[in-house]
Chain length 379, copies 4
């Protein structure tokens, strides 16, 4: 049971509650509340399954131009006991070791897509639920320097819903296609704030690595290195300021406070759109040895270990071991997995930009009025 | 008496108070307090004169490699009645119509520069004080569309102190060279926050102009125009979030609260370093007519006015007059004066970056410790 | 007769020739050739009138959602002698002092717009042709330092075609709507190369100003100033390399060589999209005095001139006059007019990006095939 | 024998020749020529060993503030037969499978460093030469889709010179400290052009991957995807144009043509400084499945393979296999190794910027003269 899965599940659970309140459907409100209490009581962890596999992304779920109608999870049968769902959800973090799976739609629906407007929860071991996980990439090998702190990495699942039965008391949306978008949006407001917040330590770590390597290599006073560290300081503190601002200027949806819609998207977008460039700064300060460094096995090898200790030291007082250990930590962080997670987890860059645009329309209109007044324009 | 001059004067007055407290010099504390009360009582406006003319910027004030020793304001005589000062201060906003001039140093001093470590106040009409103003660039002409709202632009003065006598009760620093830097820094913390805050309306105006022109030209739904407006929304809201964050995480110097040293510099830097690029976005949306538009005189001319009204309309419902008036407002804002003020007022870009770097050193050290622990490095 | 107008006119004349060849219309080919020979013989200068006033930019010329059908120049009458045209063209550089006006469409047409697919030439003083010019902004005043080199600035005209008759032998396109796009594109290929080339001296001037001010202010060895100058060097040399590359990899359209379609757009786009940011670098190096400097009148004023000469000197050996003259030159270059010309002359930023995308489709397909082969994908 | 090692060796060999000519030392010229002919005749591959391990990077090789004097390769003994060298060179690509190692200094030297101003060649199996290689990171696993094309990755060696004897006829620089810099610079001119050129195919591959995934995912017409592909087109074509421009405007050093010093550095810098950001664009288009995709083993697994084939298809006609294979190819390219190689191979970003600045000083001076003339400044 990981804290991450809790966060995602909690954001989805809150979005389900808000949406039930917005619909004003008493039954949904009660089911959601009952489900929440059950989770609390039994201390269960919940994975949120959102991203459909999508097929042709420009086509709607129900479009005949899709190869088949199952690229988005949908209701294929309904009776008085419950519903049967079919489809697949991709890259569901931590689902392999969570107790429950909470399923919500991943984008707005139109009337013809109403079978796809469905939200529900099932225990992870429900019949018909199949998980395909990708290998956990620990980025640790036997030739690594031993470190006391355990490395914990998630795996993500492709979850197939192969005609899974869901009883009515676990169904939170079913056909109300107009509310697919509010459900998605309310999840996004909450989850992008979660994202912006949990990334703060990793951005601080990037700055810490840059500061460490600048010291180890003796280049702390080199002007262009200071500029790079300054850029990392700006990156980290802008993230913190935006994440906090999104709490201070909160909004209230369905009676529940949510982070400021514009600012929570800006915080996540700031982190994601600048991640690669800041990674570059850290790599530049570290030097090429970051990827050409000998392994711990070489370091321990009596024939060559002493050469390594002599030649790979840094500034006076900085051992080869310190540098090699720092490189090892950096390589673990600098993976394509982390880069893609930065870009795509909690929605792609463009999904944030779209929300920033649309959520700021009222502000835009006000500022336009102001300049029209100043220009002497009567409308 | 303008609100702007008040702000600069107030920031300088507070910096003088903080520094007096830091020095712990009872006399300075009393003089500063007495001067402040006099200003309040008589309701006087104060210009702050900070930037020296500097000569060779890489040389210290007292360097023999400067062409002469007066490139920075300095004490040339001292007796029991007061001091005599010589030198010049450049681009002092609003000094031409303020009652008082409060003079502070503009950078850190070393021991040999101690005659230059001087702060004092004089009435603007003191003997030996000479002001050279540059023309007020109203960017209004007789061919402009008439607008009810008056345009107010400042002028800046080059102020020469041609051996000016200052009585002791108006001297706030005189030779304590180690405190030149704290005085400069405390002014900068305060004044960069002032700067970041008073720029918010002009950034909102940029966004408003972009929104207006996108509507007038009928291109509100064009994807790349939306992207540009989204960038302007991000620009404005990042400025607001940083300006506010610098208040929330305030520090306390000499018993007086000041904005967070890292964040107040980041807020000003964000505004200044991105100003030109955002101006470009507004110009791109406006179109070339922004600078090739006919004048109000042409508009009124009976021979050609009807052609202009017919041909320069925008989207249905948007008159030629509305567009021409908006262009006129935009041209007034898009001047080299405004660009240079963005870059240089309250200190150049690099002065902010340096403070961001140095003020974040404690954070950097903490993050370095964290990653060293995670890497298993023992120091 | 200015060289600029020649360039634009020549690019348009060549585009007319290429398009006539592509249509294969013998009459058009002969008329264009005859017109060209007449221009040569009589040594006439030609302005090219391209940008229509457009109204609602998202609507087609013939759209009923436009306020009226004349937002794009169109044929309103046709008989055996010629055609009658109506409409207006905006920001036509140098038209006020050219002999001839060569009119071409400004974007692709569809069948219902066929009356708007028209290209023709008229003498500038033809009955019904009305020009509205905006004031020539010389940015010179009586308080300026005198400079021997004359300042030459263009004005741009709004040209109204108030039912102008054009005889057939001056008509080069009339209704062949499918060829509006090739005419526009071929003009763009040629004219963006012209643009990229004539901007090289102004970009060199920006670099020269930065180098001069860095020397005058004594900051030539300051690291962040070197970085800014390095960025200016990269800006200038990338422009030159792209402009040249677009000649080397030329294409041939209608039997006439044209610059490489992708590279000519990239060259112009590089210049335009980075102009504001590089202007910022120059302003940062110059310092605030760039806009707060006293005038030549103050400089000559016997009462204060000596103060100015003493206090506004730079590094040893650099007079106040040298600095004030350089600031004056810089202010003349740093105008909203120049910024908007950078962005909009020869087409807006997005028009270049669209051509870069579409003209590179064949390359994109080839690179896709290569990676599919490397991935073992059989299609 | 790899083509890569040939390139590096050839660039170093040419730099040795040029420098011998510049010194005008007949013996060096003859030795270099003899060595070259021997390589040709015996068809030997040569690795170039340049980067020293450096210790404290801000200190000179001979500085007493270094932990020991061996952080840079140096001559520790000299007699009439030859020299004995000690030190270590880091990240020497392909040295593990080359015949010869050609050693050159890695930065400028001062007089006190003259023992470090040494260039020489030794067979790879010379006594005292020890290589420590890092594991070849093939990024292939047993769970991968099989691909016919073999994957070839280099390893890099840390090469220790443990008091290695070098006979005089293989010594090309020994104590001429003033020529360490020309040797380094001439190698850099040549090798950065090599670098810029061999990166063209990988940049084309990035563009190809983006084009492929945009098609597979059905998002080819989505505006922001087109913008990203346009940015990739600009990235690739700017690299090509700069690489070519550096050949056209070549210089001649020591009688041998070399790429244009400013442009060859700009070409490499353009590739390196924009690599991470362009990688981000490709990852954004690909989607999260890039890192969460099931493996080939899952694909072949009879229990779940059909689910994968059904659900991970793309646009109609694009199989799950095609997408999974493309993701696999992308992951192989998107490694921290490739990122660090982009930044550090052929010198760090700042080493290119410094050369761009210094090599353009003559141009800067000329442009300064031009604007001084235009400003009416007499010097």
């Amino acid at each position: 049971m990981t804290p991450f899965s809790h966060d995602i599940g909690a954001d989805a659970m809150n979005a389900v509650n808000i949406t039930a309140n917005m619909i004003g459907n008493k039954e949904y409100i009660e089911r959601a509340e009952k489900y929440r209490l059950m989770l609390q009581k039994q201390d269960l962890s919940v994975a949120c399954a959102m991203s459909d596999v999508k097929g042709d992304r420009i086509e709607r779920p129900s479009s005949p131009r899709q190869s088949h109608p199952d690229y988005y999870v949908r209701v294929v049968k309904k009776d008085d006991k419950g519903i049967v769902v079919r489809g697949a959800k991709a890259h569901i973090t931590a689902a392999a070791y969570c107790n429950e799976i909470l399923v919500v739609p991943c984008h707005a629906m139109e009337e013809e897509d109403k079978d796809y407007a469905v939200a529900f929860a099932v225990p992870a071991d429900t019949r018909g639920v199949v998980q395909v996980c990708h290998p956990i990439t620990s980025h640790r090998s036997k030739s690594d320097f031993p470190v006391d702190i355990p490395v914990r990495n998630h795996t993500d699942s492709l979850i197939i819903f192969d005609d899974v039965f869901v009883p009515w008391d676990r169904v939170f949306l079913c056909g109300e296609w107009k509310f697919a978008m509010p459900l998605v949006y309310n999840f996004a407001y909450l989850h992008r704030h979660t994202a912006a917040s949990y990334r703060i330590p990793s951005v601080e770590a990037m700055l810490g690595m840059a500061a460490a390597m600048a010291e180890y290599n003796g280049i702390k006073k080199v002007p262009h290195v200071r500029e790079q560290i300054t850029d990392l300081v700006i990156y980290a503190n802008t993230l913190k300021s935006l994440a906090r601002a999104s709490c201070i200027d909160f909004a209230t949806h369905g009676g529940i406070p949510i982070p400021n819609p514009v600012l929570t998207n800006m915080a996540k977008y700031h982190f994601a759109s600048n991640f690669h460039n800041n990674m570059k700064l850290v790599q530049d300060i570290a030097g090429g040895l970051l990827v050409t460094a000998p392994t711990f096995k070489d370091f321990e090898n009596p024939e060559i270990g002493d050469f390594i200790k002599k030649y790979l030291g840094g500034k006076k007082g900085i051992s080869a071991e310190a540098r090699l250990r720092m490189f090892q930590l950096m390589r673990r962080m600098m993976t394509v997995e982390n880069e893609v997670v930065a870009v795509h987890a909690e929605g792609s860059l463009q999904s944030q930009r779209l929300m920033i645009y649309f959520e700021s329309l009222a502000d835009q209109a006000q500022y336009q009025k102001n300049v029209e007044y100043a220009a002497g324009i009567k409308r």
